[in-house]
């Protein structure tokens, strides 16, 4: 039975022995008085069962969010999330945490804006502070042509009901005087497109928050369990082979950013995806220096400051296909030269850590979320540079798709078939060239 009885909670048969503590300032104080000895596991550590209604492969943000919404919104609780390593160990824990819905094309705008709306209530929904900080995302522009392109996007956002502001050079300067407004600059700043509701969130917290909330709704989260093969019978997926044995399921859903192509191949599918390395970096912790997420318009560079004080930044993918979660120096040099050129005071700031993640680059720069060509199998992948911001929205539409065996209107454009049909969602008009997305 639930102890204390202060907080209402839903309980499911799978978790008879499991007690949960609601997080709040009161529980924190109460636990403080007993030296935090009363906190329970944030999520259980169950042995995999022989069968589930739904298996989700991949315990990152997207997979965990999918499990959460399956249980919360679709009444499907008999769900396993299988993670080959530790939760959030893929791109969820490696990205630069930027959240925005400043998209031009309708399908993108609607999907990411739905996600944005979920972010706006996520901490309360999950009862886990994911530190969603709507400090604004500002894209700098450096030429008339770029300003026109940003205006096009900003106007489209506004007409789609998404917040956007076109800032002049002076307005940008007032907001962030540390950017390079000197006459030494190679590409002077003309202005910028600001999405005030954009921002950042604590990436690890997102995985943990979804994990805890999904677990509380009966989802089995199983770490250190790698899927080695699909079981396909009569053209239908009926389960998976794992390093911890065979598990059967009515439906199997992939959410393995960075390895979508590899995993899909085990089901005999070849996807229009290339895997690339994307490096990210963080500086030493500093007192507040930058209150907005800023992207450079004259080079590929984006930066924000974490709540701990580190400047978190990134840029281009490496120039070759790879699954190594490590990059090389030339990209680092290039990215940082863009950063220092954009914000010269960064020059004396020290880079503390750099790391690489494997990103699935699709041939139009937009993700694939929907049914796979094999019955009972679902694909969520190909998030290119930016899957993190989509986490709740992606899980929400994916759960809908799995539960109903049909996509939600928000993700019906993001099919695998769109490549064959030429229904591309090419936000940047870069074509089938991941290095340009």
């Amino acid at each position: 039975m639930l102890k204390g009885g202060l907080y209402p909670s839903v309980r499911f048969p799978q978790m008879e022995a499991y007690e949960l503590t609601r997080y709040s300032i009161f529980s924190l104080i109460k636990q403080g008085l007993i030296r935090h000895t009363g906190w329970k596991r944030a999520w259980r550590n169950p042995e995999p069962k022989a069968a589930y209604d739904v298996i989700i492969i991949g315990g990152g943000g997207h997979g965990l969010a999918t499990a959460y919404y399956l249980a919360k919104l679709h009444g499907i609780h008999n769900v396993a999330v299988l993670e080959k390593g530790w939760l959030g160990g893929g791109n969820t824990g490696r990205n630069t945490t930027i959240i925005r819905s400043n998209y031009l094309l309708d399908p993108n705008a609607h999907l990411y804006e739905h996600s944005m709306k979920l972010w706006e209530g996520l901490s309360q929904d999950l009862n886990f502070n994911v530190m969603f900080s709507q400090r604004g995302v500002l894209n700098l522009c450096h030429s008339k042509a770029q300003t026109d392109a940003f205006a096009r996007r900003g106007n489209a956002m506004r007409l789609n009901g998404i917040d956007a502001e076109l800032l002049s050079r002076d307005e940008v300067r007032k907001r962030i005087p540390e950017l390079d407004f000197s006459d030494q600059v190679r590409f002077p700043i003309c202005g910028g497109l600001l999405q005030p509701r954009g921002g950042t969130a604590r990436h690890d917290g997102v995985a943990w928050g979804f994990a805890r909330a999904a677990d509380q709704r009966g989802v089995d989260i199983i770490q250190n369990c790698e899927v080695t093969d699909f079981i396909i019978e009569g053209g239908r997926v009926t389960g998976v082979e794992t390093t911890r044995g065979k598990i059967t399921a009515g439906k199997v859903a992939m959410a393995v950013a960075g390895h979508t192509g590899v995993l899909a191949q085990k089901a005999g599918l070849t996807l229009p995806i290339e895997s690339h390395i994307l490096q990210a970096m963080v500086s030493e912790p500093l007192k507040p220096l930058l209150d907005t997420v800023v992207t450079f318009g004259a080079g590929h560079f984006y930066i924000s400051q974490s709540d701990k004080g580190g400047m978190v930044f990134g840029g281009d993918i490496e120039g070759y296909n790879s699954y190594a979660q490590r990059g090389n120096l030339p990209t680092l040099e290039h990215v940082i030269s863009a950063g220092v050129s954009m914000m010269p005071c960064l020059s004396r700031v020290r880079m503390l850590r750099s790391w690489g993640g494997t990103v699935d680059m699709t041939m139009d720069g937009s993700p694939i979320i929907g049914k796979a060509p094999i019955e009972g199998l679902f694909i969520n992948g190909g998030w290119n540079y930016g899957g993190f911001k989509a986490t709740p929205g992606s899980g929400w539409v994916y759960a809908h798709t799995i539960a109903n065996d049909a996509p939600h209107p928000l993700n019906e454009a993001f099919t695998l078939e769109r490549f064959a049909r030429g229904r591309l969602i090419d936000e940047r008009g870069a074509g089938a060239n991941p290095a340009l997305h």
Partner: protein, 973 residues
């Protein structure tokens, strides 16, 4: 001046004959050359240097190297201010200014120390559990959290210093100039290998500088000096001190940063501040040494608690006594060297607490013989003092009465951690050695080897070759990571000092299921500080392993990521910052444009004349005037930036056939043709004219933006897809200056300068020919028109571009020749409905652009097969249309979206968008091009060009995009 009360009279590698003055928190003190900021502070009796991240606890100097978690200061001021600088590695110079950080208002009285009192409510990850109500207050909570977090304050000004980067190659790269590294370097150098040696400290010697050791009976530093002097003199050896190897990348590339001028009071403007080295080595020798590990005992973070090795470093390297009354807590023999050196330096050692039950080693016995009590099986259970340690309370580990020892220094040693970071970065594995209690490098993935203490070989015998050190036998270490509190006590046992992560936080992480190494790290922030956990990661891991009932290898270790020590972003960026961020490309006539009042516009890396100013004009009036000059007579514009690709070979026409949508085989010699190419996915990619100069020789022009990418695409197809084609391509963009000459009088002017008959019959529209122009041989003339007027384009070798330009201005004077910039040029093309970058935006097909008719059905070309996918031929696709304002005067804005009702509630259906705008000099009203869904059928319809970003919507009428001379008669006369 305070004097230096803690400076020893003798010893240390400092220069007592010279005094350096420096300031810490405004207080002026003195030190000597050879000091670090930390050693100078200690010489002046200052242990308290900082505050911790979360609880703002007073913290002192803990180490003597890069592993320092506490002694972080803001160095220098103004535009050179550097937060989070390590006092322990900052070389002292005269006039150095440093301040403590993360405290307010001052170091001794810090308001935020209240966090310490509330610490029981602020365990690891507390922020995930609160600050959620009310939801809209998070930004407010966060504002204060951010202010409290962070460490130092960064300068907000531009860095005045300069950085540079260098590449180097060698046979053997040795990282680390201690005994092992020097021996390896000498061994390689002696057999004639090209050797580079990197040492992060200002001097070679490593731990030999820090201890009283002998080699072959003489002071060890004699050996170091002899070897390093010999190495420096060898022709194929490069030795770099103050150079920290921080990254190990693919293909045996090590990156290092050399601090060229960080140690000098006034920088030499002709030298960089720091230099980034990228060194590709055939073989890498990692002699990176080891870092001493502490033991987490209750209240182990007071100023005056110091690593044992650091204590003897301050004595031996800097001639500073870190304390007069010391206690040592250890689990190994090695740390007893500190007790001996402290005694030799005149300090009292009140007790040695050794967790081992039977201590009978060579070094411990020396200490015992000098009357120091060695308490076997003892551990610290509490410490007293606030700004400085005053007393240690110790107790048998098996339980028993507490003993108290007064002290002003508590040395701690938990053994040594080999610095396997670079080995791990290179892809190599690490294994845990349970006996030595540390991770060791194992299997290497690149051509590298770890030696000396970096490989867990801690004796001089393991490091030297052909020389003998004064090793003494040592008893085995007893791996110990944390000591318990006394029953009923809850003293904080800090694992990660900087981030205030305690053993209890690790236990909380375990309790809540954050048990994988990465979860532990991320949940508690263990090892996430500026020291990257050099003294905390292993302890945290060990505590977690114990809680899980597993051994350390079963829990695992995190991957080490670059950089090993933090690197300034300036060094990483090198010279490619500010106006050097990207090269600036200039046309051969750049100087003329500049001297004649042009306003520039960036076009990729190029700068191009936007318009030429006259008093009282803005861009629009200037462009109108320039356009009128052309239409009334003749004007010239610099088009040198357009891409020019020389294509030669028997299969040149075949290549063009495969690249462009239209056919090229039948193009006659001496003719130009407009071509458009597709991207592989069927979208329009680039356009331009290509001319056949001879049977097997074409010159292709591309847009300015795509000059490089198109060439790369041709190279790719020729090398990877069609190697059988006998064609060579070369970029000649920079080899030719290009000038467009347009206007009804252009023929008259050109004819006077050229050796060809260019009458309409002899040189009709789309003719092309080599020529001699204004006496310039090797020129090429094309009768092509972007402006829609009668026009020519003349290309001359780049060096003669200015001469050709001058000749046109001179010769055309009587015809009123003028110059025009790309604003006027753009207005011409918009009036003509010619598509350009804003329309060929990567999202449009040739059908959308009105160029669908160009696609040849007779042949195949890149992108053709994907261009017929249903999504690319959908009738609802956008098409290029013209727009005019219904009121005949309001400017339409580029980037406006076309809608039927701008005031409808969102989402508003968008039918298209405005791509290009101009003021038509011919029509005398603003015009625009747009991409509009189902465009052609909408001619005559009225829509709104909505610009909600400015709360504007202009009523527009859809018209043909060919505003002026729709049949193209003017350019054919």
């Amino acid at each position: 001046m305070t004097g230096q009360p803690w400076r020893l009279e003798n010893g240390g590698h400092i220069d007592r004959s010279c005094s350096l003055s420096f300031a810490f928190d405004g207080k002026i003190m003195e030190g000597h050359p050879g000091d670090t900021l930390a050693s100078a502070l200690l010489a002046n009796g200052t242990h308290l240097v900082g505050r911790s991240f979360k609880y703002h606890r007073p913290r002192g100097i803990f180490s003597a190297g890069v592993e320092e978690p506490n002694a972080l200061v803001e160095l220098r001021t103004g535009n050179r201010q550097e937060p989070n600088s390590l006092a322990t590695t900052t070389e002292l110079f005269d006039g150095l200014e440093a301040s403590s950080q993360n405290r307010w208002p001052n170091l001794r009285f810090d308001f935020s120390q209240a966090n310490g009192a509330l610490s029981r409510f602020l365990p690891a990850g507390f922020y995930y559990k609160t600050f959620m109500w009310p939801a809209n207050l998070w930004l407010t909570y966060e504002h204060f959290i951010r202010k409290a977090a962070g460490m130092g304050i960064a300068s907000r000004e531009s860095d005045p210093d300069r950085y540079e980067s260098r590449s180097a190659h060698c046979d053997v790269l040795v990282v680390g100039g201690g005994p092992a590294g020097l021996t390896a370097a000498m061994t390689a150098a002696e057999i004639g290998e090209r050797v580079i040696v990197l040492e992060q400290a200002p001097h070679f010697g490593g731990w030999l500088r820090r201890e009283k050791r002998t080699i072959d009976g003489s002071p060890a530093m004699d050996w170091v000096d002899a070897v390093s002097t010999r190495l420096s003199a060898m022709a194929d050896v490069r030795v770099l001190t103050r150079t920290s190897a921080f990254g190990y990348y693919d293909h045996n590339m090590i990156t290092a940063v050399e601090r060229v001028q960080d140690h000098v009071p006034k920088s030499d403007p002709f030298l960089p501040r720091q230099r980034l080295w990228s060194i590709r080595a055939k073989r890498v020798v990692l002699a990176t040494g080891a870092v001493e590990q502490p033991i987490a005992f209750p209240e182990n973070d007071r100023p005056g608690v110091m690593l044992a090795g650091a204590a003897r470093t301050y004595i031996n390297e800097y001639g500073v006594l870190p304390g007069r009354m010391a206690v040592l807590q250890t689990n190994n023999d090695n740390a007893y060297r500190s007790a001996i050196d402290l005694l030799d330096a005149g300090a009292r050692v009140t007790a040695v607490l050794d967790v081992r039950d039977h201590v009978d080693g060579h070094l411990p016995n020396q200490v015992r013989d000098r009357g120091v009590p060695i308490l076997q099986g003892y551990g610290v259970v509490e410490t007293k003092g606030y700004f400085a340690i005053r007393q240690v309370l110790a107790r048998p580990l098996v339980g028993g009465p507490v003993r108290r020892y007064d002290c002003d220094l508590l040395c701690v040693s938990g053994g040594w951690a080999p610095q396997v970071h670079l080995h791990s970065q290179s892809g190599g594995k690490v294994v845990f050695d349970a006996e030595k209690g540390c991770f060791l490098p194992s299997e290497a993935r690149q051509n590298c080897v770890s030696i000396g203490s970096a490989a867990g070989l801690f004796t001089l015998k393991d490091c030297l070759k052909g020389a003998n050190g004064d090793d003494v036998p040592e008893q085995a270490i007893k791996p110990t990571w944390s000591l318990p509190n006394a029953p009923g006590r809850h003293g904080k046992r800090f694992v990660d000092f900087q981030d205030d992560v305690t053993a209890e936080d690790v236990a909380l992480a375990h309790r809540e299921g954050y048990v994988s190494v990465e979860h532990l790290k991320r949940y508690t922030t263990l090892g996430m500080g500026t020291d990257q956990g050099k003294t905390s990661n292993v302890i945290g891991l060990a505590i977690m392993a114990k809680l899980k009932g597993q051994n350390i290898p079963a829990v695992g270790t995190t991957k080490f990521r670059p950089p090993y020590t933090a690197v300034s972003m300036g060094a990483m960026a090198g010279r490619a910052v500010g106006h050097h961020f990207q090269p600036l490309r200039r046309s051969p006539m750049d100087n003329w444009h500049h001297d004649n009042g042009c306003k520039w516009v960036d076009a990729g890396l190029w700068r191009r004349p936007h318009f030429y100013t006259r008093p009282g004009e803005d861009v629009n009036s200037a462009a109108l005037r320039e356009g009128r000059t052309v239409r009334a007579g003749v004007g010239i514009v610099d088009v040198s930036t357009l891409g020019k690709i020389d294509i030669q070979g028997p299969d040149a026409a075949e290549l063009l056939n495969r690249i462009y949508v239209n056919g090229w085989k039948k193009l006659a010699v001496g003719k130009a043709r407009y071509g458009v190419m597709l991207r592989e996915d069927g979208m329009a990619y680039d356009d331009g004219t290509t001319s056949r100069l001879s049977e097997n020789h074409f010159i292709m022009t591309t847009t300015t933006a795509n000059a490089g990418p198109v060439l790369a695409k041709l190279e790719y197809y020729l090398q990877a897809v069609w190697p059988e084609l006998r064609v060579q391509v070369a970029c000649v963009t920079d080899q030719y200056a290009a000038i467009a000459v347009a206007g009804p009088k252009s023929r008259d002017v050109m004819q006077r300068l050229i050796d060809l008959d260019i009458s309409n019959d002899a040189f009709p529209f789309m003719a092309a020919a080599p020529c001699c122009f204004a006496g310039i041989a090797g020129a090429r003339l094309f009768r092509i028109s972007f402006s829609g007027e009668l026009a020519y384009e003349i290309n001359v070798p780049a060096d003669y571009g200015q001469a050709a330009w001058n000749a046109l201005l001179e010769t055309g004077r009587e015809d009123g020749v003028g110059v025009y910039g790309i604003e006027a040029m753009s207005a011409f093309r918009i009036e003509k409905g010619h598509v350009a970058g804003p329309e060929i935006n990567g999202q449009t097909t040739i059908g959308d652009l009105g160029l669908g008719g160009l696609q040849s059905e007779q042949k195949h070309n890149i992108g053709k097969s994907l261009a017929i996918r249903e999504g690319l031929i959908d009738p609802a696709r956008p098409a290029v249309v013209g727009l005019v304002p219904v009121d005949g005067k309001t400017w339409i804005k580029a980037g406006a979206q076309l809608v039927e009702n701008p005031d409808a509630p969102p989402p508003v259906a968008m039918l298209g968008h405005v791509t290009s705008i101009a003021y038509s000099g011919e029509l005398n009203h603003p015009i625009a091009l747009a991409l509009l869904s189902g465009g052609k059928e909408r001619a005559g319809e009225e829509l709104y060009a909505a610009f909600p970003l400015r709360n504007e919507a202009v009523r527009v009428r859809v018209v043909s995009p060919h505003f002026v001379d729709p049949d193209g008669e003017r350019m054919r006369v």
